[in-house]
Amino acid sequence: MAFEILEPGLSTTVQDRGRPGYYNVGIPQGGAMDQLSAEMANALAGNTPAQAVLECTYLGPKLRTDSAAVVAVTGAPVEVKVNGEPREEWTRLELAAGDELSFGVIRGGTRFYIAVGGGIDVPQVLGSRSTYGLGAMGGFEGRPLRAGDVVPIGSPPEGAPTGGPNTIEPELRPSFDREVEVRVMVGLYDHRLTDAGLRTLLDSTWTLTPVADRTGLRYAGPAIEWKQRQQPFGAGSDPSNIVDAGYAVGSIQIPGGKEPIVLHRDAVSGGGYAMVATVISADMDLLARSAPGTKTRFRAVTMDEALAARKEGAFVRERIWGGRVDAGSG
């Protein structure tokens, strides 16, 4: 079974839950940016949450299946077409051999996902099928799809869950708003900002710039003040510099006090800019759904609140999978 790629879209890559365990040598966790949407697509296609999907950015691909297939499209709102006829997003779709799947223009958000029963079956690299573009590894030949690629589809694994949902209930579907509040935990090098600088970060409305990809998202807004000081040996000369250190995924750095950058799943693993807060794990998907221009506020929460938000995410997953698989892992 395979998909033949007729048109590749802007940047369509194979992703799964990611590749933990190699960040210490600079290989990022990777994986679908909007994990919940990807997971919902897998549930609809009768897969486990671990199976690989296609992540489509802004402009989707056009593809043809060579066999009958169960597919589902989730994520950013987009017109789904089978042989040119409109179909529902967030719903299980049955394709016949030779059917063509294509897409209109997205109406919000940034990324949508295509899951297929059996999963995208590229070889695993370091335990994951996710594409790491910068390292040219994983996914389909380590790169976004091109026209003419033939992407293999797996057989549903032994013991795959059956009786999955036919549709994701509207109240469970994530929203793709133009205004979002993102919860952060202040920490790491926040003591290097002036009090006014930290207030500016937490009290301002930030606008997501077009400089947003799998590595990170850059925001426009007011300048943020760093404390002036004699820099330690080995740190750069700017007050926003530190001796190069590991970067937490989700951490916020503000090089030169301008345009905060939030690192995402293909983060560079380290560098010389001080981080001052970190987006909590429960809100990383929310960032991934933001389109350029999204008005964003960063709200400080405690570790306890972050852990409570994590549990809420687990409840949603429980409702999708209904105990058919261990939804909590990964």
Binding site: G246, G250, T278
Partner: protein
């Protein structure tokens, strides 16, 4: 070497969201701080705690990723603090590691072509990055800078940024450290295997991409091999580990081409030797100790 020998106070613990614990060993770079970060990482790794997914030692800090559903944050912090105390108790810290010879074609046309492409906006728009680096370090010539760059070995203090990129800190007294500012504005392109320098750190770019370090030459053999075609990459696609000792070896264009042919043929192996790195001796007598390191390598 005052700042490297001064006693390190207790590390600073802080959370990077609900999945990361960050431990700052020291604000300033020093061999001692790096040694402590790596020693803590090793001990913690050996504990194999359930719920710890990544242990990333860096130049003077340590980043740990964990799953708080499995390992509550206070339990992780307690475990890491125990590791810190254990490392502090070691009276004679040593590191079982290896010394590796890395052939570099300094001042080569590829690097100079890249530097020329990004010259406007450089601190020194005339000339190349080596000329800038020599002047910044008050050295008489590019040759003298290159000599200083390869005559003393470097400690791989951190691996990362992108896959397999080593940051290196030269094992010399602080007043002899080569220091060069980064590019004022990062380049959008750097060829893979470019040997770079920013602040007091050397690096080798493992993949092609953006970069802000000054560029001095090109390493002759891969350091990241996702296809795992060369013998040195049989077990893992990334060559360098934190704690590796690197000795750069200047090569001519002819030698560079010969190494390239061996890489093409899949036969190239790095010259390397196992070594027990002794922090105290490296701090007390860097010149004498470096000679010993070289003897280990030359004994191969």
């Amino acid at each position: 070497m005052s700042s490297t020998t001064e006693a390190l106070n207790g590390a600073r613990y802080t959370w990077g969201g609900d999945e990361f614990l960050f431990v700052e060993i020291a604000e300033a770079m020093s061999l001692g701080a790096n040694f402590k970060a790596n020693a803590m990482a090793k001990l913690l790794g050996a504990e194999a705690l359930d719920g710890v997914t990544d242990i990333c030692p860096a130049n003077a800090s340590l980043l740990i990723r964990f799953n708080p559903d499995v390992l509550p944050p206070p339990d992780l912090e307690a475990a890491v603090r125990r590791t810190e105390a254990e490392v502090a108790r070691a009276t004679h810290p040593t590191l079982q590691t290896r010394v590796v010879e890395v052939p570099v074609w300094y001042d080569d046309p590829y690097t100079n072509e890249t530097a020329a492409r990004f010259r406007s906006g450089h601190q020194r728009p005339e000339g190349n990055d080596l000329e800038f680096a020599a002047a910044e370090n008050h050295l008489a010539s590019v040759q003298e800078f290159i000599e200083r760059h390869h005559s003393s070995p470097w400690l791989v203090s951190m691996v990362g940024f992108v896959a397999g990129l080593p940051f290196m800190f030269q094992i010399v007294p602080q007043e002899q450290q080569l220091e060069v500012p980064k590019y004022l504005s990062p380049r959008t392109d750097t060829p893979a295997l470019t040997v770079g320098h920013g602040g007091c750190f050397a690096c080798i770019y493992s993949v092609r991409g953006a970069g802000g370090y000054q560029m001095f030459g090109i390493a002759a053999a891969p350091i990241f091999d996702p296809g795992q075609s060369l013998p040195d990459f049989k077990d893992f696609m990334v060559f360098f580990r934190p704690g590796d000792i690197v000795k750069f070896k200047p090569v001519t264009e002819d030698e560079y081409r010969q190494i390239q042919q061996q890489v093409e043929a899949g036969t190239y192996v790095y010259r390397q030797a196992p070594i027990t790195f002794d922090l105290q001796r490296a701090l007390e007598d860097p010149a004498g100790y470096n000679k010993e390191i070289m003897e280990q390598l030359n004994g191969v």
